[in-house]
Amino acid sequence: MLTDLSIGMAGSGGDGIVSAGDSLMTALAIEGYFAMLTKSFGPQIRGGESSFRLRVATTPVRCPGGALDVAVALNWDDFLKFGAELPVTDRTVVLYEAASKVAPDALPLKGVTPRAAVAVPIEQMAREIAGTEKGKNTIVLGLVAGYFGLAQAAILAGLKKRFGKKGEDVLVRNERAFQAGVEYAQAHPIPSLEPMAPPAARTPRLLTDGNDMTGAAAIFAGCTFFGGYPITPSTEIMQYLTREIWKYGGTVLQCEDEIAGIGACVGASFAGKKVMTATSGPGMSLKTEILGLASIAELPLVAVNVQRGGPSTGIPTKSEQSDLFQAAFSAHGDVVRPVLAPTSVADTFGTVVEAFNMAEQYQTPVIVLSDQEIGQRKEAFERIDTSKFQLVDRLRPGDADLEPYIRFRDTETGVSPLSHPGMERGNYLASGIEHNEHGAPTANGAVHARMNEKRLRKLDPLALRRDLFETYGPADAPIALVAWGSLAGVVVEARDMADAEGLAVKVLVPKLLYPVAEEVYREFFASVRAGLVVEQSHQGQLYRVLRMFVDVPRGLKPFARSGSNPFSPDEVLARVREIAGQFRADREPVGQAG
């Protein structure tokens, strides 16, 4: 029985592609499967082509995977527009609209012969059974459920929820359409197709995307102020908070632009609140100046960048990892601010909570580099035990600190107690101008040097945060992979595949990207002779940032590619094999590790 199945589907606007994907995803989560759903659209706001790919498994899903097991084409034109996003190979079963009149042995898939191709009269069945072409997606759900024995009860329950309000008649037609799909599958079996194994446990999984997760994590962390401006693909964070934050005594301010958004955050942080803004590349560029203000005024602030294709307006709807340079270095002057990256929807929770904690602990802006992939994909994942997470609040002045209060006192840690308007005797002048410990403006070089040193020194403890790095594989492996953000899952999966082939490979996944925790890398690299830093950017930005601070092994190279080009575990594996092959050619032991 299958324990891992990838389904892709494409059609045009009216075909209900997205709702099919969502219905299936929900049903799977209810049944206790792990799953991941990514959607993709044409440039039109309405009526263009759309698609999804859904991967379901009995164990946690790390990435969207590679080639599809099942591809559903409601329309070949639309299907082909998604190219590499819906990869069909010889292991793929293709179900397609019979009305397309394409022969199963003449599919428009250059040089690919799929495992099986079944032309299903989807449209006709929909019209006849559901009474409307809109039923096509229900038919497809039936087909998938039928071929793989998948989540029938939950899908039916979902149909009831979705169509119940529309009247008994509509519901019944859809139930029948679903049934028809199931029956069609049973009537047209595909040789040696295995059904999906049942989930490991019948406990419902949590189900959400990275953007909503960011909002929820913020509320959990105690955020009560969000200032921002809409921008794809981050807007859902603001939208989530607009619905929820008021319940917790908080406020969302949709501002006139990104500068005002982060400006309001700086104000609210000054006034004592935990604050967040969220945006994407162009918005980050606009926020640059005020991020610098938060650094010098030493005010906690979380800024989330859900990365998309750049530069400039770039490709708003596609994922990329090309804003790392900006996150680390966009400020003028000597500024260091922590940059964190979540590796999945589930991981976004902890990462965002960590961002708030760091911001508060060190009175600094913290940047969370999410990406479109994580921000907008849905995952069904194990429940998170929130009691594991501790929350940090900024150091507030005690009585002793208030006589007199010295806002920027150069303490041993570099962290100074921070008052806020309303606190008696805590009055001070915050400023973007260089200031002395009391907050008075100065142009004195010695004071400036000391304050720069204080502002950087306070981040020193980050170098010890080994918990912000994940490692996989044997510690003494000579081949290493490094990856971050949404590529982490791809690379970890590739490692598992390499492992299965007997290749000793290890993986490092930094969640703290900057400042560079030099020791952690040094230790990790100690055994490493060769490897790859895998990134979805043209320049391989993390590779470069690491070099700034760490002597990376000579054999470690960037494996980097512009966004809007998905990475698959297979291709990473292929590169690993090459490297291992090179080792063998050089007569070096590869499979040594335990």
Binding site: L206, E244, C255, G263, C265, G426, Y428, L429, A430
Partner: protein, 292 residues
């Protein structure tokens, strides 16, 4: 809120010695603010005072309240964040004509249409003081400065008219040439329960035009009261505002007769209504359980 004690102007004056040029109009403005604050009587720690960058924007440092001398043009967004974070605070915002109507000009309309209970004071000297004498948005057409050596070719901004057009609910103009009037106007602005705007003709003695200097201003100043101006009529206020750059009318151009609730009252309302729907924060993720 602390109970109101008797505060005096000096309680709002900090130890930082102003580095303004001797004779700068901003000395008068900060004095007027001390007085207005003393009359309002809120303790300094319950007041936040935000500015941008400019000579005028140094003003929060010369007070004992929580000050924020931020970056050029962004005082209003920061102030709005403060107010929403803690609506109990008295929040003042101040800056120059350039700070407010050039680089910060995009924020004014939005602050006004949101209508938080803020007091915004512009020290309008029709020049860039801090950067040493460049053209400002309120500089008159034809003015020769270091960036307009052959004369400005642009119409000036009319702060009063802009703000009235944005729907400003309290709009006034004053000058340190009339200290008592200025202090009173600022006090009124603070007490106004919504966004209040005060344009102050605060001369730059170093780079400003001769006819802006206090002694000339005194000659050009006409109080709106003396003209029997009806401060309840927005269109009339707009008409009077057209004289900006020509005559100096002082006093209240417009004051909303029945002030609408400020933004933060709606916020509080919403928070109260929705508080009942909150789950414990530790269970926030329950919202992501699939609908069974």
């Amino acid at each position: 809120m602390t109970t109101i004690e008797a505060y005096q102007a000096k309680d709002y004056k900090s130890d930082l010695k102003p580095i303004w040029c001797p004779g700068c109009g901003d000395f008068g403005v900060v004095q007027a603010i001390y007085r207005a604050l003393a009359n309002v009587g809120r303790p300094p720690h319950e007041i936040a005072f935000v500015s941008g960058i400019g000579c005028s924007s140094r003003i929060p440092g010369y007070t004992t309240v929580y000050g924020f001398n931020s970056v050029h043009g962004r005082a209003l967004p920061i102030a709005q964040g403060i107010k929403l974070a803690n609506p109990e605070l008295l929040v003042l915002v101040a800056g120059g004509d350039g700070d407010g109507f050039s680089i910060g000009g995009g924020h004014v309309a939005h602050a006004i249409r949101r209508n938080m209970d803020l007091t915004y004071i512009i020290m309008d000297n029709q020049i860039y003081g801090l950067t040493k004498g460049q053209l400002s948005p309120t500089s008159p057409r034809g003015l020769k400065t270091v960036t307009s050596g052959y004369g400005s070719m642009e119409d000036p901004v009319n702060p009063l008219l802009y703000v009235l057009g944005y729907g400003g609910r309290f709009v006034a103009q004053g000058s340190p040439a009339d200290m008592a009037g200025l202090a009173q106007m600022i006090e009124e602005a603070i007490r106004f329960p919504g966004f209040a705007f005060v344009n102050v003709q605060s001369p730059c003695v170093t780079y400003g035009q001769p006819d802006q200097q206090l002694k000339f201003q005194k000659q050009r100043m006409v109080s709106l009261d003396s003209l029997g101006h009806d401060a309840g009529d927005r269109l009339k206020a707009m008409e009077m505002a057209q004289a900006y750059g020509d005559k100096i009318y002082t006093g209240v151009f417009y004051r909303e007769p029945t002030p609408a609730p400020a933004y933060e009252y709606y916020v509080r309302d919403r928070q109260q209504v929705l508080a009942g729907e909150a789950v414990d924060r530790s269970r926030i993720l329950d919202g992501f359980a699939p609908p069974a």
